[in-house]
């Protein structure tokens, strides 16, 4: 069941109503049962995969921890074996269900390219919803134990809940065990403020999804349907897709965080106004933060990060981004998209000398105008990447790029109206949030309650009466 469905509204209302009446042990049991019911609503057959991942990583976590406590070499070897088992199980599940056909077809194409005739063997494999997310989440658990960053939990139910927690099960955020597990095991008390914050987040997330993303979807589909879009239409189409994917994904994350908050649990911030990034690295500190930090901590840094010279740094960046792209889907366009961002990161990293400020960000060498300029450029570089991400084929993308340069004249300025109508309210709220440095309107402290009430009323009106018909979340396909 999707967050923007009647069934989920009923499901969540029932769960939250019972939840706060129960003691901690029963709360966790309720959440676990609810999570399995939630996932079974998608496809009950794939519950077995979550359970396999849960069981393997629970045992592996304990064994790795026991091995790391002992100092001898054979224990270290045992620890590595268990870690390998955990990683192989998770990557094996992911590889089989997500990439099996992709690799088979790609291999066949490669043989064909060399003039060798090979019959493709493809299986009718259904992609289990959320597999890309929970496998990464459980791998981070065993890896962190191996690195002695945390101790394993001995409570199987708590661990099972960590893996299957329904708000973030199917589309993230990809949580770290060190952050979420202690919250699961700790007693939670009801807080009106936290509950209200959660409701605000849920509302804002649904607004972004139902009003902005789903209403922009037909316009984006229209632009990417054929090859005849003019340059201006391609540009607006790219802007619209940038807003669509941002609102779709961040909307889901907000609803997930809101649901968790209402239950006294804090999930990590997954999007931090990514389109005000002024550099590629800044973008990846703001976009899908849970994935980018996962890739940084478990891929980029183990590869050597930026500690082994410029050449190795570039290699590590490119490899991380290529695999990050592949994570998004079993298609070469995602790999190309990842490679594109890798290239941006490499170019940025290799560019002229910078100074860094206390926050570790690239400090502006000029004024705010300079930063605005960089934000403008970075946004358009990101949009260029979205063309690759969303495009149907290489031919279409190259045609679109050509249109941007040669066939600029628009057929009609009406193409920009969806952006104005659906993006406008989003822009206003995002600017308010940026200036107030808060997650939602609720945090705008200086605004009187009556003004917030009016603002919420208008947003609710747009969401309830101009929200598009329910569409699935884009990141469910990953």
């Amino acid at each position: 069941m999707s967050f923007n469905s009647f069934e989920f509204a009923v499901f969540w209302t029932v769960v939250i109503s019972i939840y706060w009446l129960m003691p901690l042990r029963l709360q966790n049991l309720l959440l676990l049962a609810a999570s399995y019911v939630f996932y079974a609503g998608w496809d009950w057959r794939f519950l077995s995969l979550i359970m396999i991942s849960t069981c393997v990583d629970y045992v592996a976590g304990l064994r790795i921890h026991a091995a790391t406590l002992a100092e001898d070499a054979s224990s270290r070897t045992r620890g590595r074996i268990w870690l390998t088992a955990s990683i192989c199980t998770n990557l094996g599940l992911l590889g089989f269900f997500k990439y099996c056909n992709f690799f088979a077809e790609s291999t066949v194409e490669l043989f064909h390219a060399f003039g060798l005739e090979v019959s493709p063997v493809t299986l009718n494999i259904v992609l289990p919803v959320g597999i890309s997310f929970y496998t990464f989440q459980t791998m981070s658990y065993t890896i962190d134990i191996y690195r002695r960053k945390m101790a394993p939990t001995r409570n199987f139910l708590d661990f099972a809940l960590f893996v299957a927690f329904f708000p973030q099960l199917v589309a993230g955020p990809i949580e770290r065990a060190a952050v979420l597990l202690p919250q699961i095991t700790a007693k939670r008390s009801f807080s009106t403020g936290q509950f209200t914050d959660g409701l605000h987040l849920i509302f804002w997330g649904l607004f972004k999804k139902v009003y902005v993303a789903d209403n922009l979807a037909p316009f984006v589909d229209q632009v990417f349907a054929g090859n005849s879009a003019t340059g201006l239409e391609v540009l607006f189409g790219a802007y619209a897709f940038a807003l669509q994917i941002y609102c779709d994904f961040s909307g889901y994350s907000d609803v997930a965080r809101g649901c968790a908050k209402c239950m006294g649990l804090e999930l990590m911030l997954n999007f931090n106004h990514p389109y005000v990034a002024d550099s590629p690295s800044d973008f990846w500190r703001r976009w899908h933060i849970s994935l980018s930090t996962w890739l940084r901590d478990y891929l980029y840094i183990p590869l050597g990060g930026n500690r082994q010279g410029a050449g190795r740094t570039c290699r590590n960046l490119m490899l991380t981004m290529l695999l990050g792209g592949l994570w998004h889907g079993a298609e070469w366009k995602f790999v190309v998209w990842g490679g594109y961002h890798g290239l941006l990161l490499i170019l940025f990293h290799s560019s002229a000398t910078r100074t860094t400020d206390n926050r570790g960000q690239t400090a502006s060498l000029t004024s705010r105008v300079g930063r605005a300029g960089r934000v403008f450029v970075m946004f358009h570089l990101t949009c260029l990447g979205w063309l690759i991400f969303r495009g149907q084929s290489v031919g279409q993308v190259s045609g679109m790029l050509q249109s941007l340069v040669t066939a600029w004249a628009p057929s009609s300025l009406e193409t920009m109206w969806p952006l104005v109508i659906f993006g406008g309210p989003l822009l206003v709220v995002e600017i308010l949030q940026l200036t107030a440095r808060t997650d939602d309107l609720h945090g705008l402290a200086r605004v009187p309650d009556w003004a917030k009430c009016i603002a919420y009323s208008v947003l609710f009106y747009l969401f309830a009466f101009h929200g598009a018909a329910a569409q699935s979340f884009i990141y469910f396909q990953f």
Binding site: F6, E7, C453, F460, Y461
Partner: protein, 388 residues
């Protein structure tokens, strides 16, 4: 008063105030939305009663009535402005019926009479003029009355009748206006437009199974209110006989006024076998005719179409067999009987083919001498005898 109670009261009042502000803002947004989308007035009543008027001609389209996508001309017909007098050389077609020709779910300008106009214009521009005189809920007896009292004044050359049959399964068999009690005028009380919007949204998001259960409950409640123990399993013969009589009266009246008649069979979404979705639509349809249990409604449609075909043969009128032409299902029907844009086009094409046949054969207007009226003498003009 204890401090805690005062605090509680203040908090309660504050919450109530914000709640009222929330609702008022929503209502203002609704009205502004109506203004921008439909050119609706900000103040005053805005609902579908703006489309109807009840006067000496009975209940019919309100002249210049407008509500959302439905816009009526100065004569209360849906469509563009026309002159009362028929322009020379024009073949005027009056489409009569209920909500199907009037248009429900179709995009503006895509109801089948409007599409009929477009198709005929492509064939011979300026020759044809289609008047959509349909009124939602108009039964055959009312069509008969309205034809004689009002539509006849516009001197149509051809009358296209798309008659509803299911209303003959209502608690009361359709009767002419004169036989019915005069309805009390509705009080013009202020109302929240927001409520209408909320109803639409709730209907949209409610799962089909829940909606069907609610409708089935409403049907049972209606039966209880009327003290009915058992639903009809098949259309009662007396209702079928009434339908035949009403249809024949319409044809006879039109003929006596010198108007050619084209009868159209009535289509619905249900095919030979019913899907789960079809069952839900049948439950929805039954809500309007609670007496019709089981397949009674579908049987009534089948029997009524047989009557239409037989009447056309017996009376020598043309027939557009729409029911046979249009395929059942979601593509052509937005609900049980109303069309999608595509469905309306198919209907329009079927009727247009017959119109072109008829117009190709006839070359002059018929004499209108000796026209009769079934009920009432609400005519502005006396009988007209046109020269041949």
């Amino acid at each position: 008063m204890p401090t805690k109670l005062v605090k509680l009261l203040k908090a309660g009042l504050r919450f109530l105030g914000l709640a009222v502000l929330f609702v008022v803002t929503l209502e203002i947004c609704t009205r502004i939305d109506d203004m921008l989308t439909w050119e609706a007035p900000f103040w005053g009543r805005y609902d579908n009663s703006l489309l109807y008027v009840s006067d000496r001609f009975g209940i019919h389209g309100r002249p210049n009535g407008q509500f959302e996508k439905w816009k009526l001309n100065q004569f209360g017909f849906r469509g563009p402005e026309i002159s009362k007098a028929k322009p020379p050389g024009v073949y005027r077609i009056a489409v009569m019926g209920a909500s199907e020709p009037f248009g429900q779910a179709e995009s503006p300008g895509m109801e089948f009479p409007a599409q009929l106009q477009t198709i005929l214009d492509r064939s011979r521009r300026g020759r044809y003029q289609v008047l959509n005189t349909a009124v939602p809920g108009m039964s055959l007896p009312r069509i008969n009355e309205f034809l004689g009292d009002y539509v006849r004044q516009f001197e149509p050359d051809l009358l296209v009748v798309y008659p509803v049959a299911a209303d003959h399964l209502d608690f009361r068999c359709p009767e002419p206006r004169k036989a019915l009690p005069v309805p009390r005028p509705k009080k013009n009380r202020p109302s929240l437009r927001l409520l209408r919007r909320l109803r639409v949204v709730v209907k949209r998001i409610l799962p089909t199974e829940i909606a069907s259960s609610l409708r089935a409950y409403q049907t049972r409640r209606s039966l209880r209110q009327y003290g009915v123990q058992e639903q009809w399993r098949s259309p009662p013969p007396e209702r079928l006989a009434a339908y035949r009589e009403h249809l024949t009266s319409v044809v006879d009246q039109a003929r006596s006024c010198g108007i050619d008649v084209l009868l159209a069979t009535h289509a619905h979404r249900f095919g030979e076998t019913l899907s789960a979705a079809d069952h839900n639509w049948l439950i929805a349809w039954r809500k309007f005719y609670p007496l019709a249990g089981g397949d009674c409604l579908i049987q009534m449609e089948t029997e009524a179409n047989t009557i239409i075909r037989r009447t056309a043969k017996d009376r020598g009128t043309r027939l557009a067999d729409v029911a046979d032409t249009i395929s059942p299902g979601n593509e052509n029907f937005s609900d049980f009987v109303h069309f999608t844009d595509l469905g309306a086009r198919i209907v329009a094409e079927a009727i247009a083919a017959k119109v072109l046949e008829i117009d190709g054969g006839s070359s002059r207007h018929a004499s209108r001498a000796g026209c009769t009226h079934t009920l009432g003498q609400r005519m502005d003009d006396s009988c007209i005898t046109a020269g041949s």
